[in-house]
């Protein structure tokens, strides 16, 4: 298999679908932006894909809470196809609004509440990668590569979970906000959690936007000569995994 086929799912209000498609293309996948309505009309499209991306944005304007309307449509429309996709071990990633959707559908644990600040924030974060079950971060854990830096852009990104200790013990914490003088937990997420995976490790959800740091030029300190870890690494690992299956 040369380039794994990736479905980039886009609901009304999704707006980072083209950004993530660009990143996947760079990472060696063959992405197609697919409208939710088109998938609902023909759920079999999923079977032909090796990767699934729930892209970021403001699906349904965040009505009733970010990701709520989209998760309802998925659960009632293509719930089974989605379950089969995951059961087949094909990698799924939900970014920002996609993460919110995946928690609402129950494919990922926990929930995402309003930022501690009470409003939308756009800023860059550095990500720590603990050892976890995630097939997306395999080999990217701390020290192995340059830590990934990329922006967040969300108002509902505060991760909550009833038992984070158990979650961490079960190796499902895939990404944390690195804490240092120039890097912080931006939204009050419990245990600095930026991304989690499901028990099988194929489903990853994260609030930051690695798709917006796939070129060195996109880094805010590029004019200062800074070379930080590209978000591209995450997509490359996903592609590597999809190919290797």
């Amino acid at each position: 298999m040369s380039r794994p086929r990736a479905v980039v799912l886009s609901a009304p209000g999704t707006n980072r679908d083209h950004d993530v498609a660009f990143a996947l293309d760079l990472a060696g996948a063959d992405p197609t932006v697919t409208l939710l309505a088109a998938l609902l009309a023909d759920p079999t499209q999923l079977q032909a894909a090796q990767m699934l991306v729930i892209a970021g944005g403001f699906s349904y304007a965040d009505a009733l809470g970010a990701g709520r309307m989209w998760s309802l449509a998925l659960a009632h429309g293509v719930g089974d196809a989605l379950q089969q996709f995951v059961a087949a071990g094909k990698p799924v990633i939900g970014i920002c609004n996609g993460f919110q959707v995946l928690t609402r559908t129950g494919l990922l644990p926990g929930a995402l509440g309003h930022n501690a600040s009470g409003h939308f924030q756009c800023e860059w974060v550095r990500l720590a990668v603990p050892a976890s079950r995630s097939v997306w971060t395999h080999g990217l854990s701390d020290g192995a590569v340059e830590p990934i830096e990329c922006p967040i852009a969300h108002g509902e990104g505060r991760y909550v979970h009833p038992d984070v200790a158990a979650l961490a013990a079960n190796d499902q914490v895939a990404l944390r906000y690195a804490i240092s003088d120039n890097s912080r937990n931006p939204n009050g997420s419990v245990d600095d959690i930026a991304g989690v995976c499901d028990e099988s490790g194929v489903v990853l959800g994260l609030m930051p936007h690695p798709e917006n740091h796939v070129l060195a030029r996109q880094h805010p300190r590029r004019t200062r000569g800074t070379q930080a870890g590209l978000g591209l690494a995450l997509f490359e690992q996903g592609v590597r995994y999809a190919k290797g299956r």
């Binding site: 707006n15 009733l64 600040s117 740091h213």
Partner: protein
């Protein structure tokens, strides 16, 4: 509520909204309030079975974050949107219910507030009126509020009214003008009377409204097209070229190769690289933002994005420039009916963030200004940039083409916005103008963008529904060709609209297309794929007549020639300002260090990070130089640079604005702000020979000769500067009558506020330059000439010096300087470059330290007088950081004298003219700005 049900949903744990509300309440002087809890309410018109309740609760409540109750609270305050104001959440609830198998639910939503503290009897009503409910779009009541549901059986009598005007005398005409809020002058009323005498009938109410809207200042720019007579001296008077003509003539004379289209259609069109064109436009949305800040700025952004879509371009970025009253203004001193600047600011910022973030465009460049002159008239400028594949311009509507409306449905929102925005506001504006405020839906517009991306070639003309709604859009497109439309075909948000309401509604997110019948099915297919509604309203006829029907009832029949060319040209009188320009001695400054810190902390100069971070400036991955730059991403950039991830070249955007110069010397102000906008794009490395300009004027009532004189002077300054830099104006907009008639009878006009947007080609975004200091040991130089020029300066604002001398003059050497500097910047060898503006040299160097987290040792100054050297605001200047080995290369390349200021140091300290300020003091002053 009789037989319905209601679910009240509370946030578990601390709700950040409560904190914000409490701070606002205290800022409004309601200090007895100690806490405000917020909850969401979902109202159901009919009661639900236990099973239905469980199902809806599962849909609406996230147990990890929220708790909900079906019991009806008996205490607290509740709000809901007024009937007719669209409620997207209610729509979503109904859709969600349908998804889980409960179709046809009638739903409304609201908010519940519990207020704590030692409350006076007046506290709760005051809080509800001034903070919890904006009565322009919401109503409030003590809990439990009895909700209103959309009346789905409402129907309006499909009648029209003949208005007898042919026999009215001037007094009666003026009375009619007032009571219908037409905002027309007597000459225009006469022209309308004459026209209907000639056609031998009375006008309908729809025809009057349509004429008033088409002839409004907002839509027809009467002042910029007016015949202007200047009264210089006793009897002498000279006529000057209409302002619009002056600007166009200036652009034509420059004849820049990269200009494709200027001052026609919805936006200016440029082309820098073969195969691609760029559309640029900036708009104002001042009056709506004054009475409903969120909705006003929200739809201002939506409107300017549609302007770019209306030029058949794909939007890629947004800009915003905001002017507010001081956010610490004493609440009890506010004029009647004026919202507190703090609430206006938070509402406006939230409105821009909501639209820009949700539609998925980066909000990149901008400015925020604070001055008491904006207390009653806040200004909100929004701009948009778009790109398209180079193609032949659209042919325009052909006879037989269909009149098609795409996007949102039509409701009562935003009626008479154009005429409203052309009138002076007063204490009652908030009440009477309620219907003039539109409510935005960015997702609907996002879908329109997606549809248009796939509709290239399917239409012969397109324009957006802005001020005036269908009346303006169809009216414009029908010019010369004519059209026949049936408003009864327009899809409505709710029933019960009269024909004139449909025709004039400013409901957002609608575009009108001229579609050849053969292309209709193709267009519909694209729209259906994206879930966008497309509706045929009629056809373009070819007979030059605009005919509007509601079913069989003809409600309007106007010759488009009269509609668009029938307005008599205004003759207006101007008295030009005579500012003193004689050099004055530098004002004294006892403590330069203290002054620098005061300048850095001044709201106009201090960090805007708390606003900028509310906007997504990262989406699309094309923002190379962001509004925030530096080692800690918290220094201000000069210009911003956008470059598609797949390209190396890009676009730079810069903003220039300075009302304080405008108060003293409007002509020099205009020259200075054009210079500033260009400096900003030059500083990031853009090509000064590729600059295009947008002009946006927000002014007072131009019927006052002195006010018009200031406008005339400003346009002169614009043209002089544009010619000097060979930087053509390609589009512009004027928002006049930004005045508030206080109940005290006093008029409050805004200071002359000209916003210049500069767009330029960036040859290599990988070599973009930022102002933050990079490297200890580097050399700092100042480029440009420094004179004693404190008129309108921020130094003068702080010292309160009445006559501070002349406003900074144009420097005839600047254009050559910018070209030379560009050849140096484009090599990538200049480490940092920062333009000098408010606060002068001292502020510029301090900002470079703040951004770079480095110190500087400044031992040489560009002027013998220290105050002048540090704080004068002479135009045309930059500070550059250069590696020591590059100094001679820099001097030779620039070809004019340069002052070496000193060096960059690793020590966190600014040493400047004999005083030392620690970096953290500079940073805390800069970051202690308005909150």
């Amino acid at each position: 509520m009789t037989n319905g049900a209601r679910l009240t949903i509370r946030t578990k744990g601390a709700d950040p909204r409560s904190r914000e509300l409490l701070a606002d309440a205290h800022a409004l002087g309601l200090t007895e309030v100690s806490g405000i809890d917020v909850a969401e309410i979902v109202f159901f018109a009919h009661d639900l079975t236990p099973g239905e309740r469980a199902a809806m609760e599962a849909v609406l409540v996230e147990p990890l974050l929220q708790q909900a109750t079906w019991t009806v609270p008996e205490t607290g305050v509740e709000t809901e949107l007024l009937p007719g104001v669209t409620d997207p959440v209610a729509t979503a609830v109904a859709l969600a219910a349908h998804t889980v198998g409960l179709p046809g639910m009638e739903v409304a939503t609201g908010q519940h507030f519990d207020i704590h503290g030692e409350l006076q009897p007046e506290t709760v009503p005051a809080l509800a009126r001034r903070l919890l409910a904006n009565q322009v779009i919401e109503r409030w009541a003590a809990a439990p509020l009895d909700p209103s549901f959309i009346d789905s059986d409402a129907n309006a009598e499909q009648t029209i009214e003949q208005v007898a005007i042919r026999t009215l005398d001037d007094e009666a005409l003026q009375e009619l003008n007032r009571e219908r809020g037409l905002s027309l002058d007597i000459a225009e009323l006469h022209a309308i009377v004459e026209h209907f005498r000639s056609v031998g009938r009375e006008p309908t109410d729809v025809e009057l409204e349509t004429l008033a809207q088409t002839w409004s200042e907002h839509c027809s720019h009467k002042t910029f097209r007016a015949r202007i007579v200047t009264l210089d001296g006793e009897m002498a008077s000279t006529e000057i070229t209409p302002l619009m003509k002056q600007l166009r003539h200036c652009t034509d004379t420059i004849d820049a190769p990269f200009v494709r289209s200027s001052f026609v259609g919805n936006a200016g069109i440029l082309s820098y690289v073969p195969g691609t064109t760029v559309a640029v436009k900036a708009e104002t949305h001042n009056h709506p933002s004054a009475i409903e800040p969120f909705g006003g700025s929200n739809t201002g952004v939506g409107g300017v994005i549609r302007d770019v879509m209306g030029a058949a371009h794909h939007p890629i970025a947004i800009t915003d420039i905001l002017c507010f009253g001081p956010t610490d203004f004493p609440a009890e001193q506010l004029p009647d009916g004026v919202l507190h600047p703090r609430l206006i600011e938070s509402g406006v910022v939230a409105g821009i963030a909501d639209y820009g973030n949700k539609i998925g465009l980066p909000t990149v460049a901008g400015a925020v200004l604070y001055d008491p002159g904006y207390l009653a008239n806040p200004l909100v400028y929004a701009g948009c940039i778009g790109v398209a594949a180079d193609a032949a311009p659209l042919p325009g509507p052909q006879p037989g083409d269909l009149v098609v409306v795409l996007g949102g449905r039509t409701g009562r929102d935003g009626l008479r916005g154009a005429t409203f925005s052309s009138a002076t506001m007063d204490a009652s504006t908030g009440d009477v103008a309620g219907a003039s405020v539109q409510i935005g839906n960015p997702i609907t517009e996002k879908l329109l963008i997606d549809v248009m991306r796939e509709c290239i070639g399917l239409y012969t003309a397109v324009t957006d529904c802005g001020a005036g709604g269908l009346s303006s859009a169809v009216g414009e497109m029908a010019e010369g060709v004519g059209a026949d439309v049936d408003v009864a075909l327009a899809p409505l948000k709710y029933p019960g609209l009269r024909p004139w309401e449909v025709w004039l509604s400013e409901a957002q997110e609608r575009m009108v297309f001229a579609v050849p019948p053969a292309r209709w099915t193709c267009l519909v297919a694209v729209c259906e794929r994206h879930g966008v509604e497309a509706t045929k309203l009629g056809t373009f006829t070819g007979d030059g007549v605009l005919r509007v029907r509601s079913g069989d009832l003809t409600v309007l029949e106007l010759d488009t020639e009269f509609l668009h060319a029938g307005r008599p040209q205004r003759t207006m009188h101007a008295v030009l300002p005579t500012p003193s320009r004689t050099a004055a001695a530098a004002p004294p400054c006892s403590d330069a260090a203290a002054m620098l810190l005061q300048l850095l902390a001044h709201p106009n100069i201090a960090s805007k990070e708390h606003i900028i971070r509310r906007y997504d400036h990262e989406i699309r991955g094309a923002t190379v130089v962001r509004p925030l730059v530096g080692a800690a991403h918290d220094g201000h950039a000069d210009g911003v640079v956008l470059a598609e991830p797949s390209d190396t070249h890009g676009l730079a955007i810069g903003i220039g604005v300075n009302p304080w110069y405008g108060i003293t010397d409007p002509e020099r102000m205009a020259h200075a702000v054009v210079d500033e906008a260009i400096r900003n794009v030059v500083a990031v490395g853009a090509d000064p020979s590729s600059v295009a300009l947008l002009d946006n004027f927000s002014w007072g009532d131009p019927r006052r000769p002195s006010t018009l004189g200031e406008l005339v002077a400003a346009v002169r300054g614009c043209c002089a500067a544009a010619s000097a830099y060979r930087a053509p104006f390609v589009s512009g907009k004027d928002s006049l009558n930004n005045e508030y008639l206080g109940s005290d009878g006093a008029r409050h006009a805004v200071p002359p506020t000209l916003v210049i947007t500069a767009i330029a080609h960036h040859p290599n975004a990988d070599l973009a330059v930022t102002p933050d200091l990079k490297q200890a040991g580097d050399v700092l130089v100042v480029v440009g000439r420094t004179e004693t020029e404190f008129g309108g300066s921020h130094f003068a604002l702080i010292t309160g010096a009445g006559d501070a001398g002349p406003v900074p003059a144009p420097d005839t050497n600047s254009p050559a300087r910018y070209r030379a500097l560009h050849t140096l910047l484009r090599t990538g060898r200049v480490r940092a470059c920062h333009d000098l503006s408010e606060g002068g040299l001292a502020v510029a160097v301090a900002e470079m330290c703040i951004g770079g987290l480095l110190g500087a040792n400044i031992d040489t100054l560009p002027h013998a007088d220290i105050t002048t050297a540090l704080f004068s605001e002479s135009t045309g200047r930059f500070v550059c950081e250069i590696a020591p080995q590059d100094v001679t290369w820099f001097f030779d390349g620039l070809g004019e004298p340069v002052t070496v200021l000193g060096t960059v140091t690793g020590e966190p300290l600014l040493r400047l003219a004999g005083f030392d300020i620690p970096l953290d003091e500079l940073r805390s002053a800069f970051q202690g700005g308005p909150r």
